[in-house]
């Protein structure tokens, strides 16, 4: 187990290096810099600004300097928000993202697992067909369609919930962002769980459990759930990537100050270090999510050997 973990962590180094290098090269190839303004800047002023941010050094030196800082966990100063470092900005935004993304994935599992289980139990029945249709619709609705439509319905027309703002993380403010991010995941989880429960329900030990006279709920959630969870765990690793994408849209739509918001603003303003920092963070999150998913598969099914 320890050796497996170590080798997986080592093999993620080239991936992270590729991400950092690609992002660095692409950003520096972009025309225009972060300090291009409407007003003409004095050459001396420009030179001293560039010197302060080490932009006057040759590119390979800048690249090595960035890698060195990265190893020490320093993502550098933000070009657009001179008073704050990229570390500060990320630290201020991360709680928002973790709350919304975590709650959305949790909601997707809490709703999707039972929906998929009962659809598979009554395979071909009325409930199954309703669930199949709804999940097909849910998969086709992207977050940037769902989020404004939810605001239109629940905030503007019905006036039940606030249309935006973090509100200190009050539950009322969380409902709409979490719901619009969770919607496609509820659909995906339902589809995956339905298919995987249908596989598991064919197994001999399920037949035994049913022959003993256990109730559907006992069969589904005591005997079938654990093996049926395997495909879901494999899905949840990559799903973290989608939750990141979705949360960028959710933050923009609901005016929340999370990392995605900084990322988009950074891309607008050519804030190199900010965009780099967020890209590196996203890359690391994805690597960790995939690793955790693989480890969980080993815990759920002892037949999965980690090597």
């Amino acid at each position: 187990m320890g050796r497996y973990l170590l080798s997986r962590l080592l093999s993620s180094i080239p991936t992270m290096l590729a991400i950092v290098t690609l992002a660095f090269v692409l950003l520096r190839a972009a025309p225009g810099g972060p300090f291009d303004t409407e007003k003409e800047m004095l050459p001396e002023v420009r030179a001293s600004i560039e010197k302060a941010y080490h932009l006057d050094e040759p590119l390979p030196v800048q690249y090595l300097r960035y890698l060195g800082d990265l190893l020490r966990g320093d993502l550098g100063p933000s070009f657009q928000y001179p008073d704050e470092s990229v570390n500060d900005l990320i630290a201020s935004g991360l709680p928002v993202d973790l709350t919304i993304g975590g709650l959305a994935l949790l909601l997707a599992c809490l709703v999707g697992i039972p929906l998929g289980a009962f659809a598979a139990w009554k395979r071909g029945g009325f409930f199954d067909r309703i669930a199949a249709t709804l999940s097909l619709v849910g998969v086709s609705i992207p977050v940037y369609v769902a989020a404004p439509l939810f605001i239109l319905l629940f905030a503007v027309t019905l006036q039940w919930l606030p249309a935006g703002d973090w509100g200190g993380g009050a539950p009322r403010h969380l409902v709409l962002p979490v719901l619009s991010l969770a919607l496609p995941y509820i659909a995906y989880v339902t589809r995956i769980m339905r298919a995987s429960f249908m596989d598991v329900l064919e197994q001999p030990w399920i037949r035994t459990a049913r022959a003993k006279g256990l109730s559907p709920r006992q069969v589904l959630f005591r005997h079938a759930l654990r093996p049926a969870l395997l495909p879901l765990v494999a899905f949840l690793g990559p799903a973290v990537v989608g939750a990141i994408t979705g949360s960028i849209v959710v933050e923009t739509t609901f005016g929340l100050k999370g990392i995605g918001q900084f990322f988009v603003l950074g891309a607008f303003n050519r804030d190199y270090t900010l965009v780099m920092g967020v890209t590196v963070l996203y890359g690391a999150l994805i690597v960790i999510a995939n690793l955790t998913a693989d480890l969980c598969q080993g815990l759920l099914d002892p037949r999965v050997r980690l090597q």
Partner: protein
């Protein structure tokens, strides 16, 4: 038995295409000229503007049809580019096999682990001012799935009689790949084209919704969604219509693509 084609989706998509291509001809307005002399903007439906206008007095119907055109054009360009790269890469890897194949597919594996969305946003910094260039770049980084599928199919065709016969007759590898292998991949390639188009439409809408894609006065479904979200209190139609169009477009393409793929892979 071959699965039935989803005729409803094909019909809906065809209707949408005809509307998007022909619709703007029947209106005297264009999608970019603002009309400031209206009493209060955005104005509601009237004979001149069947769906009303947006906040700058531009005809909503014409803008919607133009955004379908542009979203589809951009998606088609990016999909074709990803197709050309993916097919060449996959055919070469599958045909030559051995070490060439191992190296080529290892590169595909590495690229798979690069997070797509953050990366596309980095690309907007590079090409943000030029929508078509941006999507040429997006096409150039989204060929991985197609390359994998095509490689598998090529390996299956590699040792069929007609390929071996061509080899014995002394045909050059380039000729065998282009005249004997690629034509036999066309079915699956077209199926994947119909599945790639909706994903690119979604990518474009995502970027434009965030303001990183199509720039004003140019429009696209993502721009219309963002405009609509800003105007939802005065004219909810501006949000609902592009939402319906986008979901319809993506859903129909996905249904058709799934059906085509099932016919060729089963």
């Amino acid at each position: 038995m071959k699965p039935r084609l989803p005729w409803f989706s094909i019909g809906a998509l065809a209707l949408l295409l005809v509307l998007a291509l022909a619709g703007p001809w029947f209106s005297p307005f264009d999608y970019y000229t603002p009309e400031w002399d209206q009493p209060d903007l955005p104005v509601g439906a009237s004979w001149a503007h069947p769906l009303g206008t947006d906040a700058l007095g531009r005809d909503l119907f014409v803008r919607l049809m133009w955004s379908c055109r542009i979203s589809l054009l951009v998606a088609l360009v990016a999909s074709l580019i990803s197709l050309v790269i993916g097919v060449s890469w996959g055919v070469a890897a599958g045909y030559f096999g051995g070490r060439t194949d191992a190296v080529m597919m290892r590169l595909v594996d590495i690229l798979y682990s690069v997070p797509f969305t953050p990366f596309v946003i980095v690309l907007t910094v590079l090409f943000g001012r030029h929508l078509l260039l941006l999507f040429v770049a997006i096409g150039a980084v989204s060929w991985l799935d197609i390359a994998r599928i095509v490689r598998g199919q090529t390996m299956a065709l590699r040792h069929r009689e007609f390929v071996v016969a061509a080899e014995i007759a002394g045909a050059a590898p380039w000729r065998i790949m282009s005249t004997h292998i690629v034509p036999n991949l066309m079915g699956i390639v077209i199926a994947y084209l119909t599945l790639t188009i909706p994903t690119v439409v979604l990518t474009e809408a995502f970027l434009s919704y965030l303001g990183l894609g199509a720039q004003s006065p140019l429009t696209s479904l993502g721009v219309m969604l963002a405009d609509g979200a800003a105007q939802m209190r005065s004219r909810p139609v501006m949000l609902v219509l592009p939402a319906v169009l986008l979901v319809m477009l993506v859903y129909c393409c996905n249904r058709i693509g799934d059906a085509l793929r099932d016919r060729h892979v089963a």
